[in-house]
């Protein structure tokens, strides 16, 4: 077991190693360590959907139990992404069953972000160092005013949502949605540019 040499300090073990240990040897402790890295995220998502701290707590435990049962049957490349999907689906199913217990149709997910595509790939502007290339710049300039302002302030002037919302005198939610929409438009614009370049 050469992997054992890494010792027992779980602080700097990779997710992949912990996952492997659990899968190969059924070491629940390892899964626990791995889970605790993202437990706050699971908790946050549960609060968001279930809107109730106590149920959120219960579900964080339930999701862990579910992992113990399900993990061996799944090929997982990125644990965090997978956990996100599991968590979200779990919450959805709870909402669904709550809905059927009480009146049908009273709980509706009215969150537009819900349907937003969560692309696996990192958006160019989210990369480690925001690329400062001409194409991106050009695309940013083509954005609508609000979207451009928000993107510039957030990504180039390192301002937080709150500061932007104060400066532009708009709600924080608006700022977020301008960023989201701006990013989407940027992506479309950039993709078009790449295609145009390849054709040349």
């Amino acid at each position: 077991m050469p992997l054992k040499l890494l010792g027992n300090k779980s602080g700097n073990l990779t997710d992949e190693y912990l996952l492997l240990e659990f899968r190969e040897r059924g070491d629940i402790e390892k899964l626990g360590t791995l889970y605790s890295r993202y437990m706050h995220l699971v908790y946050g998502v549960c609060v968001k959907y279930l809107k109730d701290r106590d149920s959120a707590k219960d579900e964080v435990i339930n999701i862990f139990e579910k992992l113990v049962a399900d993990l061996p049957n799944h090929e997982i490349i990125n644990f965090k992404t997978w956990l996100y999907v599991v968590t979200k689906n779990h919450c959805l199913m709870i909402l669904r069953s709550r809905k059927s217990e009480t009146e049908r149709g009273t709980i509706m997910i009215n969150d537009p972000l819900w349907f937003m595509e969560n692309s696996e790939e990192l958006h160019p502007i989210d990369k480690e160092d925001t690329p400062d290339d001409e194409r991106l710049n050009d695309c940013i300039n083509r954005l609508k005013d609000e979207q451009r302002q928000c993107i510039r302030m957030f990504y180039y002037e390192d301002k937080c949502y709150k500061e932007i919302s104060e400066l532009l005198k708009m709600d924080e939610k608006k700022v977020k949605s301008y960023l989201q929409n701006g990013k989407r438009n940027l992506k479309i614009c950039l993709e078009a540019k790449y295609v145009a370049q390849e054709e040349k």
Partner: protein
């Protein structure tokens, strides 16, 4: 993920952010991380609904409960193995008694080859089978429970034989650990837990009492063969009413009743495939024989629900349509589309027209005349772009336009509650007085 350690948004950072402990650049770098990762973004939304103190306390609670849960697991496991061994001895005795059962050679071979593996492998499932049957027991089944033991056991033993030839120790170790998991799941006496154990192990259990009967008594005299069973959801182990079961390749099928039960005339086929499905669940195919009673557990498939897209036709603003799905409040779908109408209703509107209409002074012999106007009702209910579609003369047109302009306000058309801009035709009749 792990290589970007310095920026990682761990609990501390989340609490600091929620507690407004971050300013300017630090806040921005936290938010950038949220932009990169939808998981963190959604979690942050959740955190924004509680205070930092509450979140911190909850996380402490959760950690404690998880630690407890893990501890319990560890203590119970050795007892489980002991129970498994005891059960093995019992089962072996039973097997010896029932040597004429379908697969005795396989069974004994397996036992001789690797006793330990058999012990670990067979125990949890056997236990499940017995308890399930006795749990549901309708008196006559106590016998069935006894009989089903060899069937299920020989099934798992078959697995053991398949595993064994590969021989290496790691394989055995793994099957042991798998078995341990099954045991963990059956820990609780709670019947629901029992069911979920079954789900993790195998999807379908044949409570195969009738099959045994059949093999001894030869062909059934009454020609009618029935497959019956129950469909449940793996999520809550509750029965699924209204799920459908069809014999693959035929039009024969059934829909489950309020208790999730179904029964199908199996016809003459000796073995067939059942397809069980339910909206929001993954479809499941099960091999079956006539005269069996099945328990089918369907896995939920939220994807299947997401894929239901309702498309409505009508004029919808472009911003509502491009590349997005609009959430529909089910209460409103009953009347997807509402035409524009006067805010007072058509009846009052007609009354208004009748009382206010003036037959144009210049018009000579007073005859019945009709003016048709095209009117655009904007989303805010305002009237715009009045066009004359049909009119006997300018004087009539002017009067008709005046009536509409000065008349009651309008309600915009709505699609699923969203106001739409819509063109309507207004017919105004001039009657001689």
């Amino acid at each position: 993920m792990s290589h970007r350690k310095k920026n990682k948004n761990d609990l501390t950072r989340f609490l600091k952010y929620t507690g407004n402990g971050m300013k300017g650049k630090e806040r921005n770098s936290f938010e950038r991380e949220l932009q990169r990762d939808p998981f963190e973004a959604e979690a942050a939304e959740g955190f924004s609904m509680v205070t930092a103190g509450e979140a911190e306390k909850d996380m402490r609670d959760i950690r404690k409960r998880l630690a407890d849960a893990k501890k319990k697991r560890r203590i119970l496991t050795p007892m489980r193995i002991a129970a498994a061994l005891a059960l093995l001895i019992g089962t072996t005795a039973l097997l010896l008694l029932l040597r004429h059962s379908p697969e005795p050679p396989l069974v004994s071979q397996a036992i001789e080859q690797k006793k330990t593996t058999v012990a670990a492998e067979s125990k949890p499932e056997t236990k499940t089978a017995i308890e399930e049957n006795s749990g549901e027991g309708t008196g006559a089944r106590s016998q069935a429970a006894k009989m089903s033991v060899p069937v299920v056991v020989s099934d798992t033993l078959k697995n053991a034989v398949v595993i064994n030839p590969t021989g290496s120790e790691t394989v055995i170790e793994r099957s042991l650990s798998e078995a341990r998991e099954n045991e963990v799941i059956t820990t609780s006496v709670d019947k629901k837990e029992m069911l979920s154990g079954k789900v993790a192990g195998l999807e379908v259990h044949e409570a195969n009492m009738n099959a045994m009967e059949k093999s001894t008594s030869g062909d059934n005299l009454s020609g009618k063969r029935i497959i019956s069973g129950t469909i449940i959801s793996t999520d809550d182990q509750e029965p699924l009413p209204g799920a459908s079961v069809v014999i693959k390749g035929t039009a024969r099928g059934a829909v489950t009743d309020i208790n999730g039960k179904f029964s199908i005339d199996a016809g003459t086929d000796s073995s067939l495939i059942l397809v069980a499905s339910f909206i929001g669940m993954e479809q499941e195919e099960i091999k079956s024989k006539p005269d069996t009673n099945l328990l089918i557990a369907l896995n939920s498939n939220p994807q299947a629900l997401d894929e239901v897209v309702v498309v409505g036709y009508g004029t919808v603003k472009k911003q509502d349509v491009t590349g997005s799905a609009v959430t529909v409040n089910m209460d409103e779908t009953k009347s997807d589309y509402n035409k524009p109408e006067p805010s007072v209703g058509y009846k009052e509107f007609n009354k208004y027209i009748e009382t206010n209409i003036h037959y144009p002074a210049g018009a000579e012999n007073k005859t019945r005349e009709v003016v048709v106007l095209g009117v655009t009702i904007l989303t805010n209910g305002n009237i715009s772009n009045i066009r004359v579609i049909k009119s006997p003369s300018q004087a009539f047109s002017d009067e008709a336009i005046r009536l509409v302009k000065e008349g009651p306000s309008w309600k915009a058309a709505t699609m699923k509650g969203i106001p739409l801009e819509e063109d309507i035709r207004v017919r105004i009749v001039f009657k001689p007085r």
